[in-house]
Point group: C2
Chain length 413, copies 2
Amino acid sequence: MTAGAPVPTAAVLVVGTELVYGLRPDTNGPDVARSVAAAGYTPSVIAALPDDRSVIAAHVRDATSAHDLVVVTGGLGPTHDDVTREAAADALGLPLRVEHDVASTLEGIAEGHREPGAASQVLRQACVLEGARVLTPSTGTAPGQVVPTARGHLVLLPGPPGEMRPMLAESLAALVRREQVPPRVIGCVDIRESDAQLRAERALEGHRGVSLTVLGRPSLVDVVLIAHDLDTAALAAAADEVASALAPHCYATDGASLAEVVVGGAAARGITLGLAESCTGGLVAAALTDVPGSSATFRGAIVAYADEIKRSALRVSHDVLAAHGAVSEACVREMATGAREMLGADVAMAITGIAGPGGGGPDKPVGLVWFAVADGSSVSAGSRAFDGDRSLVRERATVHALDLLRLTVAPRA
Amino acid sequence: MTAGAPVPTAAVLVVGTELVYGLRPDTNGPDVARSVAAAGYTPSVIAALPDDRSVIAAHVRDATSAHDLVVVTGGLGPTHDDVTREAAADALGLPLRVEHDVASTLEGIAEGHREPGAASQVLRQACVLEGARVLTPSTGTAPGQVVPTARGHLVLLPGPPGEMRPMLAESLAALVRREQVPPRVIGCVDIRESDAQLRAERALEGHRGVSLTVLGRPSLVDVVLIAHDLDTAALAAAADEVASALAPHCYATDGASLAEVVVGGAAARGITLGLAESCTGGLVAAALTDVPGSSATFRGAIVAYADEIKRSALRVSHDVLAAHGAVSEACVREMATGAREMLGADVAMAITGIAGPGGGGPDKPVGLVWFAVADGSSVSAGSRAFDGDRSLVRERATVHALDLLRLTVAPRA
């Protein structure tokens, strides 16, 4: 495809009443969207639709007339609410025909079914649209279909992800428009979304063919660079400039998570890590141990939820707890020192705060969290006041703790 | 609304290029869909759209002409790619005007911004559609809007879930079409989806007006009962029968999480809890401490990731580790006993296993996890072999640990 030619577009339709009612998250839509983008199509919509023949038919009709590629997942199974085949036939005005190879395979499977009526139900799956290329299932029973349309192609795939994915790959292999440069995700922490946006925009002033999306999550901001008529090296150069403009808030330019950067940084420097957690209650440990290979650097954590555990397991002194309370600079410093000794770690991080909804007061409001890092030569401590409910305070405290660990284990200049 | 009148329909549009590219899962769409269903609207589509003014405008135009309620989330922020306001104005042919109350609040926030240009960016958020009711943000800066349409209403909400949710509740409170009997979610654990389905179907044979959806998550199965022309008491009676048919796998009939049931059960019996975690790395502690008020029963956890911590903090003997290894019945029993003593808890649970991808072998494959519960009079232990990748093994082990705790703290007959 030559530069300047219009980029082909794709629509993704995911079928299932439970999806439209929000009773189950949709994983197929994002999966298919990433794959069609990698095959050179711009994803224009992901729509979840109910198991309703006329609704599906209307969406397939609109999507096939507006987009070069339309991928539909779900509704190809044997039960009465699987109506995608019939809806697609309605939309394109094509008859359904029995695919005999598929039918004979299914007949073997159907013979194993004991419930009356099950056999004919299973055989419905052997029906394909006139002119469709059949995608044979590697697992499961529902075949997929690739149907030519006036603008391009309609691809029908089964809903179970394990059946859908191999057929998606097989169907797209024949429909690749151009190899797309994958987007770059630049991870930032401890910066406002609007500040990240402005800094990134200024860094991109000299770069053409890159579009920018800024995504805020609690305490994290992702700056996403999408290439338009730009090769991988040029996008990488743009990403490097954006990352410099965002330093020291930028923790990754390759999509790595903050925990992965902490584990990788500690491993590179041969530093072992330990934790003392109170209000985060294990979330920081869970984030670090989510990283494969974290056992090389992460030794463990003391989740000291009760004050007695802060005393018995972390050696926080009775006087400190009596005079300053568990949410205090004096306590968090002793927690970090105690965790470092108890866990035999090079660096220990401690977190203690008030996640709410109870436990706050005028001096120590809900959202106040103390952090300390002990590295053997010194202990540094600081506090933050986080907004939000219990789970948001815990999430923000977890991100901040990981960020402090990142800065502690960062390569020395 | 009288029985037999047409049920009003709703469309949910979620805006964000990252969503259409599958770079981030959409949580707002399912959230909004559940809420509009509870308010008496049938959700007809959830569509993810890019940050593209003309695409959003086209979808808003189609949706408002086809549906009684259209809820759009995202694209109301201050950055250049936040174009939902303008797109909605295009779609309905309405002018934008500055809402002065919002503007003066935003001016205060804008003064705190250091980046040049940020202030005018922030103030764009004060623009609302002519005739819109403004939803004042409790957190964040972007106000929501409720705009009358020919068929009903268009609701514009900000994308960050913490800002979106309170405004969604506020906007729907005024738009409820009929009080829907809320669905009953019966939480089950350690049972196959198909077995749960068959047992629930048999239990419902004598009940009319209830439909059944069975949703499997890793290690958990939700049996959802949806009322059709049935009141709350009748649905509750049906839920009780289904729950009996699913006992002892049923842990809640009121939508409570497994961790909430554990914390509630322990609190009711005055039992304190402690944990020793290895492969789950803090996930069980994080789940328990996610429950408000868990500090009354949960004392803490030792996350003993390194074997030295199993020895030093949990008093696992050198001989046991040398003879049986860390993933063994002998080790998990000592971990539970050690945690109980170390944490001064009535009941301690220990978990040690191989989450992968590395660390497995012929005798101890990836997915093997040992569990033990020590209650002061005895220690019981058992193992499971879980399928899946690292995060799935960790998640399944966490669910099983919580389930063992649930059975341990359950009310005595």
